[in-house]
Symmetry: C2
DNA sequence: TCAATTGCATTTGTATGATAAATAATGCTA
DNA sequence: TAGCATTATTTATCATACAAATGCAATTGA
């Protein structure tokens, strides 16, 4: 299949910008299992035909995948899918590409577990270090959650922003990098839509309490509330799973 | 300066494999501050002359940096260094390239803080989930630490392996990715060499106790011991800093 | 028969030059 | 002066050729 989305006008060759699209296609084929770990991707010249682009584009797309630890290339051997241990799953582009395969790969549980370690500490630090402006921004995200009403997508978007801002307010650049981990787990829950009105209310209440703890510079309280939020998220996910099955 | 390490034999053109070297040079120039965030890198054609390689190599090297969030390229604009927030500092290749600039960028403290959140949880999980083989491997690393004696480099290498294996034994793929964070902070301490014999003995004792907790499946004990290890690491780093200054 | 070495075939890596697309900067027009 | 068309510059893509790495087979020698 050709990547270009539009046909060329008669007599004129069109050159759409497709490097990233090709990289995304290849990455998704890896995560979907079409290219199993340890197996070979098609030769560069074959990929050229498959995607209808020049070898330049194929190679630059493969360089992106290499940089993210998804594949390695060697002369005469070809391009091989790396073992999953080497995949850069903290790269937010990679997380984006994994998308619907996130749960199949067992990453939703991983992520929630990791958030259980990270967010309480981040909340604790944020209570000590956040600027007034940062706290205000977090509160704004909280208000957006409260205002979302039945619009689940808006609610989740605001929730994601809330947690990203919280991590950023910890003033620790490592924690900040985990912003990308907020989206996926939440969106997984969205896909199962097991959200009752009370459930949302409870969540909004918890988030509000956390904002209050930040304002009071109550680091211990912030830590406990963040922990409670994660516990609730874990509970929600398992509830969503039982609905699904 | 040309990248190629050897001159070509008369009449024969040599083509060394230099893509990664070029990427590393450019990355290090970014981390050293030679290319400040927000500023432009030289044009691709200029980089060709600077490094004495073809535009193909330059472009593929830049694609690697792009994939790691270090730069963005746009036609007519050029290639611009991204704000530090977008750098993929969890990528172990990136951490490697940062190297000596780690402390100047304020990452040593970040890393220790993050480890303070992650390792106790990882130790707790490892106590519950590690296989006998994994515990044995961790103990082997511990014995290598004990046997290192005055060979500080060997000690740190074994210490690094110890913590990487511990993270892996948590059976959480997110935590496992943090293996790369073990090296840098430790190597920073190495560079200041503030290691007394008693200090090493104490460290060995603590690590041994952690192994014992794993064997006993004492998750709470493992958590506390990991916490103590990090506290000690923080203490050692600040001691090393005061010596340096 | 077997082992080592040599040569061949295949695949990625690099070089080169041309054209297309994007867009900041410039100048023109009203 | 504001808006619009033009231009110039830079990256993006295409096409082709050759270099280097390496698995594999054929050859050779004992």
């Amino acid at each position: 299949m050709t990547v270009s989305t539009m046909d060329a006008p008669a007599g004129k060759s069109i050159r759409p910008r497709v490097r990233l699209s090709v990289a995304q296609c290849l990455a998704q084929d890896i995560f979907s299992g079409k290219f199993a770990e340890g197996s070979n991707l098609p030769r560069e010249n074959d990929l050229c035909e498959d995607y209808g682009v020049s070898r330049t584009v194929i190679r630059e797309a493969l360089k992106i995948l290499q940089a993210k630890g998804l594949v390695v290339s060697r002369p005469r051997i070809g391009t091989i899918v790396c073992p999953q241990d080497e995949w850069n799953i903290l790269d937010n582009q990679v997380l984006d590409w994994i998308g619907p395969n996130l749960d199949r790969m067992g990453l939703v549980d991983c992520i929630l577990e990791a958030r259980g370690a990270i967010e309480p500490m981040a909340a604790e630090l944020a209570a000590r270090r956040a600027t007034m402006q940062e706290i205000a921004d977090i509160e704004a995200a909280w208000q957006a959650m409260a205002k979302a009403g039945n619009d689940i997508e808006a609610f989740i978007a605001a929730d994601t922003v809330f947690h990203e801002l919280l991590l950023k307010a910890s003033h620790n650049r490592i924690f900040q990098q985990f912003g990308a981990l907020m989206d996926p787990a939440l969106n997984f829950m969205l896909s199962t839509s097991a959200h009752s009105a009370e459930n949302l209310e409870e969540s909004i209440g918890q988030h509000g309490a956390l904002v209050e703890a930040l304002r009071l510079r109550d680091s211990e309280g912030a830590r406990k509330l963040a922990l409670a939020l994660i516990a609730k998220a874990k509970h929600d996910v398992s509830a969503a799973r039982s609905v699904k099955s």
